[in-house]
């Protein structure tokens, strides 16, 4: 448990979080490994785990009729995957390991309960998620500009 707390504290997503909060959420955490091709989430399934990637890359994919599966994003070590678990949502995309992936899994229900029980932890956690979302939203908007198209 002690080493898991240390690993959590070293993860970029939790950088700067107080030791007390780290120890509090360590109870929701476990070490997980995915082999290449294994799914972290399947579209439509509940997001019962939030993953903090420590090693390896995962692809966020969607199935487009007539085009097959398309990769729309790739997350890598240091990233958080499955933020919707914090608000009780389901998986909107397939997420699949592109190589051996090591991650810390945080149980979504457990984490939500701890955020409810400790509003300071809840605030710290949601500020971090908001930062992740801000970056992803900005990236998605820039991607929508299709800036490498011929007429640019």
């Amino acid at each position: 448990m002690e080493s898991l707390a240390r690993i959590l504290a070293a993860h970029p997503f939790l950088e700067g979080m107080g030791q007390e909060h780290i120890e509090f959420i360590t109870g929701c955490a476990s070490n997980v490994v995915f082999n290449e091709g294994e799914f972290l989430y399947k579209q439509g399934s509940p997001v019962d785990k939030i993953y903090l990637l420590r090693h390896g890359r995962v692809a966020v994919q969607s199935f487009a009729p007539g085009r097959g599966p398309v990769t729309v994003d790739v997350a890598t070590s240091g990233d958080l995957v499955g933020w919707s678990g914090l608000v009780g949502g389901g998986a909107r995309f397939d997420v699949i390991a592109l190589e051996l992936v090591r991650a810390i899994a945080l149980d979504s229900a457990c984490l939500r309960a701890k955020c409810d029980a400790d509003p300071k932890l809840g605030h710290a956690m949601f500020m971090r998620v908001a930062d992740v979302l801000e970056h992803r939203l900005e990236s998605t908007r820039v991607q929508l500009l299709d800036m490498y198209a011929s007429n640019h």
Binding site: R57, A59, V60, Q61, G68, P69, V70, T71, V72, D73, V74, T76, G78, I96, L98, E99, H135, E138, S139, V142, Q143, L145, D146, M147, Y148, A149, S150, N151, H152
Partner: protein
């Protein structure tokens, strides 16, 4: 004598084109090709600096500014990588070895290779923007010990649009060259990054206070990449970009590429962000 005019007078006759022969044309992607040009007298060479461009013309069709994409230390062949976007570039793409083109140049400012010496060097590029930075890569590879960490972050629309795929694979095999490719969307067979190129910047290994960054690509990409570089702590006077405008004469006379007090063909195309950044934020300028 004003600096611009003085520079113009020093040139031999920059408005007079010379003949060059097509040595090879090879397709890079569905809309991009690389053309190698040689002097009719093979003993002659043309020297250039990374970041400079030539005006390439076809009689009766027109003339276009194209950055040089070849190796600056191998000056027998002058190499340009061109995207087919208009009449002249499409006609250039149809040329066969032995065909003749008219060429003027090289023109413009160059990437600050001297300033980068001893520093980490980060290249951020997208689409056809990799071509004007390729001479920088060759130059660093020839003089690797002169630079710190060397990072190339390259974005393209899809895997099929990635330029110089063979060379990228070869460069990636160098342990002292950190190269990341990303595309906007990809089939499931793609094993690299997906997402905008600026997202790769915070993860790249460089010391922001001891880094020279060179950014080349669509202006939207440049703006977001510079924002991310600045967020990481790279100062504006260490960030350089290449501007693209409608260059015609190449020597600062016609004014087609004038941007306020600057002629991009003469004072650019390479500028520091401190010099050009504010102007890039003005719409339609």
């Amino acid at each position: 004598m004003p600096q611009t005019t003085e520079r113009l007078h020093k040139a031999a006759d920059p408005t007079l084109p010379k003949l060059m022969i097509v040595d090879r044309v090879r397709r890079e992607t569905s809309d991009t090709f690389t053309i190698d040009l040689v002097e009719p007298d093979l003993a002659k060479t043309m020297s250039f600096l990374p970041g400079q461009f030539n005006m390439i013309g076809l009689p009766g069709i027109g003339e276009v500014p194209i950055s040089i994409s070849g190796d600056p230390e191998s000056s027998r062949k002058i190499v340009h990588t061109i995207r087919e976007v208009g009449e002249v570039t499409r006609a250039l793409g149809r040329l066969k070895p032995g065909a003749q083109v008219m060429i003027r140049g090289p023109f413009g400012t160059s990437w600050p290779m001297d300033k980068a010496k001893g520093c980490d060097l980060v290249l951020v590029t997208g689409g056809i923007g990799l071509a004007p930075l390729r001479p920088v890569i060759y130059s660093v590879m020839h003089n690797r010990a002169l630079y710190g960490r060397f990072v190339l972050l390259y974005g393209a629309r899809t895997p099929e649009d990635v330029l110089f795929m063979k060379e990228l694979a070869e460069w990636r095999s160098h342990f002292d060259f950190d190269l990341q490719i990303t595309v906007d969307r990809a089939p499931t067979t793609w094993r690299n990054n997906v997402g905008v190129v600026s997202r790769l910047i915070p993860r790249a290994p460089f010391d922001p206070l001891d880094t020279v960054a060179m950014v080349c690509g669509p202006e939207v990409m440049i703006r977001y990449s510079v924002q991310e570089l600045e967020r990481c702590g790279v100062p504006g006077d260490s960030i350089f970009l290449s501007m693209e405008r409608n260059m015609k004469c190449g020597v600062g006379l016609c004014g087609h590429c004038q941007l306020r007090g600057s002629f991009i063909c003469l004072d650019g195309p390479v500028y520091s962000w401190d010099q050009m950044g504010r102007q890039m934020e003005i719409r339609e300028l």
